[in-house]
């Protein structure tokens, strides 16, 4: 219950932000942090709670992004209606990848590589097909109206991404407090033991990847509205997959607040290096890579785990 209150207070506080802050730069930073949190939450559901490390979450993100963009560009569908459609498409791709991988017992590194290969297949397809605009990508028509999921200022986008991350928070909280979550973590910790206790591991993992992919696709649909543009590299390139996994690993795998903690820490680090070293290409990703190695080596339970350990030591 405490966690639930913390989530609500936090989201309430962020919701009040536009009333006090009008700086576009600050609001953009908050939006991008929440956006990274959302991607992290999606990845965390499958990897942190379910133990299945994907290297290709871009496959779901990009599908969400393209589903929404293509519907708007080719059929003039309202962008709000595109959002649920994008989520369904992403979840369907998740179901496909999951059904194949889990049916044939792929685990660990092999699962990671197969998801990456799927993302690459989608990237090449998006690059070669007319429907997705090929290598040029798709530009979402400018409407600038809240009714079309496009806003004049940043505040509107802030509320949308806040609502999506809130959904991510609630899902994560639910995993901590439900039978399904107990089954998922049991499968993560030991699949055979879980099966012996009556847990249908295949089904549980499949559901996890569907939920995770749906959330990721929502992130993709948001991206399209916020930047009004998508191309194969942005949608299906490895950068998105890396962004999704980095946050939870830094913040704490399989925890409710890990993705937020990680996203915030990485954004802070990113801003810091930008101030110190300027906008030189590659610097921030280089540092992210080093952070990833350092976290895995020295803090496998993330910053959140570090806090917990310190709190446990304190009298």
């Amino acid at each position: 219950m405490k966690t639930l209150y913390a989530i609500l207070v936090l989201c309430g506080a962020v919701a009040l932000l536009p009333a006090f802050v009008s700086s576009g730069v600050v609001l953009n930073l908050v939006i991008m942090t929440l956006y990274a949190t959302l991607l992290g939450q999606a990845w965390n559901i499958l990897a942190g709670f379910g133990g299945q490390y994907s290297f290709g979450h871009a496959a779901f993100f990009g599908t969400g992004a393209y589903a929404s963009a293509a519907l708007q560009v080719h059929f003039g569908v309202n962008a709000w209606l595109c959002l649920p459609f994008a989520i369904v498409c992403g979840a369907a791709v998740g179901a496909l990848v999951g059904a194949l991988s889990f049916r044939y017992g792929l685990r660990g590194s092999y699962f990671a590589l197969v998801t990456l290969a799927f993302a690459e297949v989608f990237r090449i397809l998006a690059n070669s097909v007319k429907f997705t605009g090929g290598g040029v990508g798709l530009l979402v028509p400018l409407k600038s109206s809240a009714l079309d999921f496009q806003f004049q200022g940043k505040a509107g986008f802030l509320y949308v991404i806040l609502a999506l991350t809130l959904a991510g928070f609630l899902l994560s909280w639910w995993l901590k407090h439900s039978r399904y979550g107990a089954w998922l973590t049991a499968v993560r910790d030991n699949e055979d033991s879980a099966a012996a206790l009556g847990v249908d591991a295949f089904r549980v993992k499949l559901q996890a990847i569907v939920i995770s992919a749906g959330l990721m696709a929502a992130g993709g649909a948001f991206y399209v509205q916020y930047f009004q543009y998508i191309d194969p590299h942005l949608a299906y390139g490895p950068a998105v997959s890396v962004e999704a996994l980095l946050g939870p690993i830094v913040g704490g795998l399989g925890t409710v607040f890990g993705p937020l903690l990680g996203a915030a820490a990485l954004k802070l680090l990113g801003e810091l290096t930008r101030n110190l070293m300027g906008d030189a290409p590659g610097v921030s990703l280089m540092i992210y890579g080093a952070v990833l190695i350092a976290m895995v080596t020295f803090l496998p339970r993330g910053i959140g785990g570090l806090f917990q350990r310190l709190a446990a030591k304190a009298p």
Binding site: A182, A186, R188, D189, N190, D192, A194, A195, A196, L197
Partner: protein, 249 residues
Amino acid sequence: MLQARHVSISFGGLKAVDDASLAVPAGSITSLIGPNGAGKSTLFGILSGFLEPDAGSVSFLGQEVTGLAPHRICRLGMTRTFQLAQPFAGQTVRENIAVGSHLHRAQRKAALAHAESIALRVGLSGRLDRPARDLTIAGRKRLELARALATEPKLLLLDEVLAGLNPQEVSEMSPVIRSIRDGGVTVLMIEHVMQAVMNLSEHTWVLNNGQLIAEGKPADVTRDPRVIEAYLGRGAAERLRTSGNEAHA
């Protein structure tokens, strides 16, 4: 209650289980014994759906379960434990047991409460909120038993839950197993600790080189020359008999 008919399985060239048939009557504590590598755990794997036999069939409560997935067999009321106890390391003892409790309880609260009552039965009450990875071997064996018990099975398959325990711990666990049976759960146990087999089980099966070589009351079976030879090697029964006679004389 449980019946295996002519089941066989081989790994590569090795016949790990060879035309084995066995039956477990409802309400009993039945044991399965045999030397190391006899194929006991492999047979358990077949009974519980983790391994598919090359030949033969298994039925449980009159229903054919050969080749059924493990979780389905568990849902029918047969739950196994593993010889190498593997707790869900990241979770507390209570959470571990609750995974089993959830089989018949959708609510988290109800499952956690049920887990607590199960912990009481197997003597884990004091360690409910400890991380499972911190448990000793004896603690892990108890947890393995508790998780399985939490699924409220009709038949429990216990793979060496007493192995690795000291005599003190064995004598603590024996009444627990008996009370489980008295609570209406049929038990089939693999065991090396002979004293426990004698104490607990009414009927025992002996497996050697994948084949069932004897069955009967534990006291009778352990006098069976074939069984003694299986354990101690060819000619051992003869030697034992003569030396035993001398000792008794």
